[in-house]
Subunit: 240 residues, 2 copies
């Protein structure tokens, strides 16, 4: 299997750096091919420029390289620390610049009966994706009634809107809380759990998001049909 | 009133540029003082560097200037196009770099009985904030059962996690959908609506998020107490 790790942390000697190194070694030892896009080490340009706006786009070499890696990959792991309840700006800028018109969006027929190939279809369909996320707060702070907001809702815009949108199946995330209190024993336990997730990338059931073009949504209003989970609303309604 | 507009769009001759210019003129005509942080025009550095990690921080001049503008402001407007269901990377990088330890987080007593001054208290308490957001999709796509996810949930990580966290009251957002189909007539209607929102910045009731340190949450677990909205979970549970 080909695995791309898109990784964002400014400090190599960090928990994130150690978890990324562990993942690379673990996957290679299992016979997989691994590429890493280490965004800080690459000094990735996070800012989508006016010259990259669709109508006038000439794709730069850095973007084409990342698109090639995505095409090569069977599975894409996005690893980052949760900063202000989302991915770091450098990774958000990777998405904005790499997901170009015709690659990340604007794929397929756009008409009143078909709003493109997205949400389960698209350039990256057939691939799998998983987030590996560290957070300074406690697990309870991110629980369904925790003050920071439930983690599955905080990650929905990434899971559904960035990974599932261009077609990838989304695996449940691997989360590390209290990331600032990490002794040797806890690190060993966490890498063992992460190793199990890496060993089962091909077999773990994905989050069952509804596909756009398979009858659940009215097109072009793109609202769930009245008879589909009639009592549900909000993010959870998009789970089959 | 002092109003700071933090603005991110790469193209001055865009709908966003026109709305920003309208807001500046409208607010000044009403006698308010306005500053604009035009992040693209400023060539804002979006990438939080290892040298800016808390333990070794030496605040750079660009950060200190933005913190000074925030201290000066009574109201802060964040205006941006919704890219991949969140703010542009350049604005996310503004948050990451300007919200330094002791300014944006890590404010106040941190103990088992008080987890800092945040979520309704903090450096920016007493100020008001409002998002002005454009989206290419239709309003129905962002409705409670729309495929993109309900807009109030998509914006929660920004509203609650970035604006309310350091103490600002959060006004309901001003949203423009179908941003790519904008004739003169529609633009006139939208600026009239925006003008009304700008005229009522001081009086519009804020979103009633629960305050962290006023009895609704167990500390330090930071979970809503069992008798507070006992049936609620997810983002909506944090509305009083």
């Amino acid at each position: 299997m080909n695995v791309l790790i898109v990784y964002a942390h400014p400090e190599p000697r960090s928990l994130n750096g150690a978890l990324k190194d562990f993942a690379v070694q673990h996957l290679r030892a299992a016979g997989h091919a691994v590429q890493v896009s280490d965004l800080y080490a690459m000094e990735w340009n996070a800012t989508l420029a006016a010259s990259e706006i669709p109508e006038r786009v000439h794709h730069r070499a850095d973007i084409l390289r990342e698109q090639e890696k995505l095409r090569w990959a069977d599975t894409v792991i996005f690893q980052f620390p949760l900063w202000w309840f989302s991915m770091p700006a450098i990774m958000k800028g990777w998405v904005e610049r790499v997901y170009t018109l015709g690659f990340g969006y604007g794929v397929g027929e756009h008409s009143d009966r078909r709003w493109g190939d997205r949400y389960g279809e698209g350039t990256l369909s057939g691939k799998r994706a998983m987030l590996v996320v560290t957070a300074g707060g406690w697990e309870s702070h991110y629980s369904p009634r925790g003050i920071n907001g439930a983690v599955d809702e905080l990650l929905f815009p990434i899971h559904h809107g960035i990974l599932y949108y261009p077609g990838m199946e989304v695996l449940p995330p691997f989360l590390v809380y209290k990331a600032r209190s990490m002794g040797e024993q806890r690190f060993a336990a966490i890498t063992e759990q992460l190793g199990q997730r890496l060993d089962t990338l091909a077999t773990t059931p994905p989050i069952p998001y509804r596909r756009q073009n398979h009858g659940d949504y009215d097109i072009p209003a793109m609202i769930l049909k009245a008879d589909i989970a009639p009592a549900a609303s909000g993010f959870a309604a998009h789970l089959a």
